[in-house]
């Protein structure tokens, strides 16, 4: 018992118990458990890959990937371009991914080069690189010569809208496959989960290959890794590229389920929930696994789904936003202040 508490850490246990309490309380205040469980699962599928994007960089010692917006931007570019081309259904989604991935590789490479030059300060710089890239893209969204009438502002005739619907293009491109429907309210988008599981498996398998092991070694002890002949900078760059690509795929999966592409300031704060989720799942600033991703995403999204409905019915107010801010940032804070050896 003692060991379990130590392993899991107090914040995680408190939040886990809080979530259990919410699920138990739900039926008494008139919230359907099956509907909320289904909502939670859908959100896990939506956000899973974005959280997974944290893993490579944490493992290679680059810290928490606050620069996730960079990957998201690549995904968004892929998404709007595929809508511009106008191909519908699963193929459209695939095209979006095919366009997004090379962009993510290039951006990730540049980003990796930058992070290699600022070892020790990655997180703060990543945050601001993310922010400024979002701001640059705000300008780009206004100026890029997209012409599809579903995407540009009705008046003026140029500049992309702030939210673009993917309905009629690739809404539910993954979610619609093998949809399990139990009763009226409970459904599981198996297609999306299979996709998530595949990507997660690939990442898991990657970390078992030679390159993956080398990457973990770089994260655990860069001096040792260098001594054993691993090119530290190359491994770090590779991990950043991998994270950025996963971010790009992640946002596409998110959008096909959510139904909208959010441009402009939309990606601004998207890194924070993902960071909070993986930390909630038990990752630390320099160690993360797939289990952390799955557990963390479930806990975090569970709280996001359950607090509005349950707390609202109990207290007649919407406190979900405040709870979200406190839980997610509290979790990041906890991880940052844990007594680990800080390398400089």
């Amino acid at each position: 018992m003692q060991k379990f508490i130590e392993d899991a850490g107090w914040p995680r246990i408190i939040i886990g118990l809080f979530l259990c309490a919410l699920f138990i309380a739900a039926p008494f205040v008139g919230v359907r458990i099956d509907a909320s469980l289904s909502d939670t699962l859908v959100r896990v599928g939506m956000n899973g890959i974005l959280v997974l994007a944290m893993v490579p960089m944490i493992q290679s010692g680059c810290g928490l990937n606050f620069g996730l917006p960079l990957g998201i931007i690549s995904g968004l570019l892929g998404a709007v371009t595929s809508i511009q081309i106008g191909i519908r259904g699963g193929v459209g989604f695939l095209i979006a991914a095919t366009i997004a991935i090379p962009i993510a590789v290039v951006l990730g490479w540049l980003y990796g080069q930058l992070l290699n030059r600022v070892k020790g300060d990655e997180m703060m710089i990543a945050t601001y690189v993310g922010f400024s890239s979002v701001a640059v893209m705000c300008i780009a969204w206004l100026l890029l010569p997209y012409t599809s009438p579903t995407m540009i502002w009705g008046y003026g005739g140029s500049g992309l809208r702030t939210t673009i619907s993917v309905e009629g293009f690739w809404l539910n491109a993954l979610s619609k496959y093998v949809k399990i429907q139990i009763g009226e309210f409970f459904y599981v988008p198996v297609g999306m989960f299979v996709f998530f599981a595949t990507i997660a498996f690939l990442v898991w398998a990657f970390f078992r290959t030679k390159v993956g092991t080398a990457m973990t070694a770089v994260g655990s002890n860069p001096e040792f890794a260098r001594a054993s002949g691993i090119n530290v900078d190359r491994m770090r760059t590779l991990s950043v590229i991998l994270s950025t690509v996963l971010g790009a795929i992640g946002i596409l999966v998110y959008e096909q389920s959510f139904g909208f592409i959010q441009l402009y300031m939309g990606p601004f704060y998207m890194a924070f929930p993902a960071v909070a989720a993986i930390l909630l799942g038990g990752a630390s600033v320099n160690k993360a696994s797939i289990i952390n991703v799955v557990v963390g995403t479930f806990l975090f999204q569970g709280i996001l789904t359950m607090t509005p409905s349950v707390i609202n019915s109990v207290m007649q107010t919407d406190m979900s936003e405040v709870i979200r801010i406190i839980v997610s940032n509290g979790m990041i804070l906890y991880a940052l202040t844990r007594k680990v050896v800080v390398k400089r």
Partner: protein, 362 residues
């Protein structure tokens, strides 16, 4: 060779202000603003923002980097202002009272911030940044849900129509410009807020004096090398907490001065921007994460706000869309922070290489 290296390092040291002066030189003529207008704007904005920016100096002295946790102080100041508005105390007495109410909250928050940062040595900046978000959540919890029922608020104009929680925007009619107009001075068409400048000047003197005290010297030693300072018998953790507490309290006063000039308070947003703008300003002034002077503050505030005023107009003239200039400004504020952080990290690595080179006797 050595000379070339020196020039290069000088350029790297002042890269940010140089880029900025260049940008302004292009943008000012494009915007088409008159000189008097710009001077008036700069004088007002200098008075409005300097105090907030100055509050960043002491943690930098203590080697704790940019105190992103200054938003904590700003929140404390805002809570003070909410109460003063509720009690309807106007004039400079109101400002003083707001400062008195805000100060204990700022001290408490500063203490918390310092204690948290002591647990995260080596990554103070990112931790204080996240702490700002976290306390922002707590602030919202208190202001949005506790004020008006648990904490009594008598003025119904402050409270949301549902019966509790503070409104999104608060009109600080009683306090508006009270400090700025305390000692009025008019030069031509330009009005100068003398009292605010006196306060800022006094504060600069305080910082100069503070650096010479025992505590100030201790902090400087900490900033140089924490381990050596510890070995020399300086109470490291305590000194760091004091540095953050001072910074937080000053940020609290700074936010009160800032808001009395603006005249309306954006209950849930004002403090967010305070932190970002102050940090961007000090960096633009040529400060780095480890070294900042009072000159950096004033140069930075002027340059940053020049950009602030000019860029939407310049964007409009250049491309025909004011929105574009606005986004450009957002990009500049974030980009400059990113650039400054990168340059700092870069310089640290360069210094390491220099040190190694000198060891080899080159």
């Amino acid at each position: 060779m050595a000379k070339k290296r020196e020039l290069k390092s000088l350029l790297a040291d002042y890269a940010v202000p140089i880029v900025f002066i260049g940008l302004s030189a292009v943008a000012i003529p494009l915007s088409g603003f008159s000189a008097t207008y710009l001077i008036q704007e700069m004088l007002t904005r200098l008075a409005r923002n300097s105090f907030l920016v100055l509050s960043l100096l002491i943690p930098i002295l203590a080697g704790m980097g940019l105190n992103f946790g200054m938003v904590l102080g700003a929140m404390a100041g805002q809570i003070g202002l909410i109460f003063v508005t509720d009690w309807a105390v106007a004039g400079w007495q109101g400002m003083l009272l707001a400062a008195i109410v805000g100060m204990p909250i700022a001290i408490l928050l500063g203490y918390i911030c310092g204690a948290v940062l002591n647990r995260a040595k080596g990554r103070e900046m990112v931790t204080s940044y996240i702490l700002g978000f976290f306390i922002n959540g707590v602030y919202q919890l208190i202001v949005l849900y506790c004020m008006g029922n648990i904490i009594p608020i008598s003025n119904p104009q402050l409270v949301l129509s549902r019966g509790y929680g503070i409104r999104n925007a608060i009109n600080l009619t009683g306090l508006r410009h009270t400090l700025d107009n305390l000692i009025p001075l008019q030069i031509g068409t330009i009005s100068v807020p003398v009292a605010t400048y006196i306060l800022i000047g006094a504060f600069c003197l305080f910082i100069i004096w503070f650096r010479r005290t025992k505590l100030g010297q201790d902090m400087r030693a900490l900033g140089q090398d924490m381990a050596v300072a510890d070995a020399a018998g300086i109470p490291v953790e305590r000194t760091r907490i004091i540095a953050i507490v001072i910074s937080t309290v000053l940020a609290c006063f700074g936010q009160i001065i800032f808001l009395q000039n603006i005249g309306t308070m954006n209950t849930y947003n004002s403090h967010d921007q305070a932190g970002m703008f102050a940090i961007a300003a000090i960096l633009i002034g040529g400060a780095s994460v480890s070294r900042a002077t009072i000159t950096n503050v004033f140069v930075g505030v002027v340059l940053f706000h020049l950009m602030f005023v000019v860029s939407p107009m310049a964007g409009k003239e250049l491309i025909g869309q004011a929105q574009l200039g606005e986004y450009f400004r957002v990009f500049v504020s974030y980009g400059i922070i990113a650039l400054a952080l990168v340059l700092h990290a870069w310089r640290r690595m360069r210094d390491k290489i220099e040190a190694r080179r000198s060891l080899r006797g080159e």
